[in-house]
């Protein structure tokens, strides 16, 4: 399946691009994260914590919902899905 992925800092810095077209034959967000971190090793420290769990400092949207409102990293993906990765931060 083809996925359109938009990345913001620091994920875009780790990949070197803000937008990716990923051709991917996995099923879920979890598999996509593995696929992406294999392809872009610098992304690993931004996505996974020391224990290998996905850190709380990454927010992944699949279309108009965060994966936490769906099935977390088990969220299924389909051809044409749009994903956004961003870092949770607030301010004024």
């Amino acid at each position: 399946m083809k996925l359109a992925i938009e990345l913001t800092k620091p994920f875009s810095d780790a990949v070197g691009k803000r937008e990716l077209e990923v051709d991917f034959d996995g099923r879920s967000v979890e598999e996509l994260l593995q696929h992406m971190t294999e392809k872009y090793p610098k992304l690993r420290k931004e996505i996974y914590g020391e224990t290998g769990e996905v850190t709380e400092y990454v927010i992944v949207f699949v279309n108009d919902k965060p994966i936490s409102a769906l099935d977390g990293t088990d969220t299924g993906l389909k051809n044409g899905d749009k994903l956004l990765f961003f870092f949770p931060i607030s301010g004024g």
């Binding site: 927010i59 965060p66 936490s68 961003f86 931060i89 004024g92």
Partner: protein
């Protein structure tokens, strides 16, 4: 620690009284925003003109301000707001507040009006009212440099030309960019003929348990540094938020007709203008930029409201507008919101060239720049714009449909709240009008927060879906309370639990910090109770000014126009769901169905006065 004084200055009578806030009041309100609203509620009559001599202007430092506690740089400025006619209150960083405490004072209450331009000179235990004729008319940085030249290494909180000219959204400024920005408190200074409060102190702050203090502060620093957010704030600052909000489709654009704008305002472009990162007193985060164009900033607010909201793409132009607002002493949030509002009104033919004096349009940097100068000097159309949201009367009822404000206060941050329902409730109920710094439940965007952590913080039943209305009163209630408490302590909200991270200063840390500085033993629940008390009295203040349930609402556009772009496309606020959410918020807060503090609670709180 507990021996700082309260200065009461009557500018009309040229009298200064030095006294002290009793310990029982400090225990009830701690300091900062809390003690400010205590005095304001007691001293301001409801029918007064905010720009008249009867208004009371308070500069109040936090309970921990000026100590070793990380980011304890803050003070609150409070008065009845000339912009909204309700509570005016704004929190500010920089170096002024710590210096005021070193000069022996916790708080200054300023009454009356000076006959001629004046400033207050506060040095070790003394307050003098001095003439400021030679400082009147100077921009905010120039006047501070002039004070330093004339009086040595002083710190000053000043108003700019906008404040002198009673612009209803003039701010109080200290340093190049730190602002008690909201609610027009700079105009209250101007109305009192008060250009500045200038201070220099040499008195240290006695700490009850100094060794313990070192220990706790070291532990806290390590804890704060363990969050990934701390180094990002210290290297990129708040501009990172622009990119996040924009990618998401949540950046107020062209008066919220759109919800996404150009990548040219992203953090990596802003970085090319950064000279260095700087900080406020006791701060180890250092989230602010000194820019290469001769000023400080821009923060996320300036990028959004002077960039996307005005349809301006060029980063250098946005930074220049940011620097101009800072120098003139204009609140950036109101400036960007009011300009975008009239640009749209002009496009729609609700106001015309005869009134505006020229063609108004989005995307015109020179126009925006000249209007900012005109506002600050109240020249031509600028004189009208200086009246802020009160212009609904002049422009006509229809103009209100396009105004992005709540309770007369233009929305503070550039975040379009139509997607995240808790954010929407927060700006609708904030005690000073549309504002994110009162209650923004940022953990709402921490979508990966484990359920048990989320429930421990916010309570049961809060869903992981930011578009859901279910139980969203709980994150707002939690955030309201803890942000009020941290404002009383004088610690920067950027390191408050729940504002940027679940790992920052929570009630347990507050309890330790209060104990080692003052020796006072607070329970965590008692600190939370301080926050609740503050919010209730702020509401009582607003009730006296006529605020009811109908005012806890949102701009029409947020209800009726779905967001047009990106991920957030199609989302808006449902009126019925919002109404139910508001009812639940009142209930959890213990207010009645009309959003008023119940009588027995009013009696209990008034007994403290």
């Amino acid at each position: 620690m507990l021996n700082r004084k309260l200065g009461i200055i009557d500018l009309s009578k040229r009298k200064v009284k030095i006294t002290q806030t009793p310990d029982n009041l400090k225990k009830a309100f701690l300091g900062g925003r809390g003690l400010n609203i205590h005095y304001l509620y007691d001293m301001v009559k409801s029918d007064i003109d905010p720009l008249g001599p009867e208004n009371v202007l308070i500069f109040g430092t936090g309970f921990l301000t000026g100590t070793l506690v990380p980011n304890s740089s803050r003070f609150n400025v409070s008065a009845k707001s000339p912009e909204t006619g309700i509570l005016g209150d704004a929190n500010c960083g920089g170096y002024f507040a710590a210096e005021l405490r070193y000069a022996g004072f916790d708080r200054l209450i300023i009454l009356g009006k000076a006959k001629e331009p004046s400033y207050l000179h506060v040095t070790d235990g003394t307050i003098e009212i001095k003439g400021a004729k030679e400082y009147w008319g100077l921009d905010t940085t120039d006047v501070q440099l002039a004070f330093k030249k004339d009086l040595g290494q002083v710190e000053a909180a000043v108003c700019g030309v906008a404040g002198e000219n009673l612009v209803r959204f003039a701010c109080v400024r200290t340093g190049v960019k730190n602002a008690a920005g909201r609610c027009g408190l700079g105009a209250v200074m101007g109305s009192k003929n008060l250009k500045a409060v200038v201070t220099k102190g040499t008195q240290g702050i006695e700490i009850a348990h100094p060794e313990k203090m070192f220990e706790v502060v070291e532990e806290l620093k390590d804890y704060l540094m363990s969050s990934k957010i701390t180094p990002i704030l210290g290297s990129v600052g708040t501009p990172l938020l622009y990119e996040v909000s924009n990618a998401f489709g949540a950046i107020r654009t062209k008066n919220s007709q759109l919800n996404a704008w150009s990548d040219t305002l992203n953090a990596d472009v802003v970085e090319t203008f950064v000279d260095k990162m700087i900080g406020c007193s006791s701060c180890f985060v250092h989230c602010r930029h000194r820019n290469k164009l001769g000023g400080e900033g821009p923060e996320y607010t300036a990028l959004g409201l002077l960039g996307a909201n005005l349809g301006i793409e060029d980063t250098a132009h946005v930074i220049e507008l940011n620097n101009i607002c800072n120098e003139l002493g204009l609140d950036i949030s109101s400036s960007g919101t009011i300009l975008a509002w009239v640009f749209e009104l002009y496009e729609r033919g609700i106001i015309d060239k005869k009134m505006a004096g020229e063609k108004l349009r989005f995307g015109d940097f020179e126009l925006a720049k000249s209007l900012l100068y005109k506002i600050s000097r109240r020249e031509g159309f600028g004189d009208i714009l200086a009246e802020s949201t009160r212009n609904v009367e002049r422009f006509g009822e229809k103009s209100k449909d396009y105004l992005i404000a709540v309770k007369g206060l233009p929305q503070s941050d550039p975040h379009d709240v139509r997607y995240m329902k808790a954010f929407a409730l927060g700006i609708a109920t904030a005690s000073r009008g549309a504002d994110h710094l009162r209650s923004r439940p940022t953990l709402e965007i921490f979508f990966n927060l484990p359920k048990e952590v989320r429930e421990r913080i916010y309570g049961k039943g809060v869903t992981n879906d930011p578009t859901s209305y279910i139980a969203k009163e709980k994150p707002v209630y939690f955030s309201d309370n803890i942000f009020a408490a941290i404002d009383c302590l004088g610690i920067c909200k950027f390191i408050c639990h729940g504002f940027n991270s679940p790992h920052y200063v929570d009630y347990a840390w507050m309890k330790k910090l209060i104990h080692c500085t003052s020796g006072w033993q607070f329970k965590e629940k008692e600190i939370e109770a301080v926050g609740k008390r503050v919010i209730d009295i702020e509401r009582m203040f607003n009730t006296r000014e006529g605020i009811t349930r109908k005012d806890d609402t949102l701009p029409k556009r947020y209800f009726d126009d779905p967001m047009p772009l990106k991920i957030a496309k199609g989302h808006h606020i449902d009126r019925k769901e919002f109404d139910k959410l508001l009812t639940r918020y009142y209930k959890i807060r213990g207010w009645d169905k009309d959003g008023q503090v119940k009588k027995e609670r009013v009696r209990e709180l008034e007994a403290l006065q």
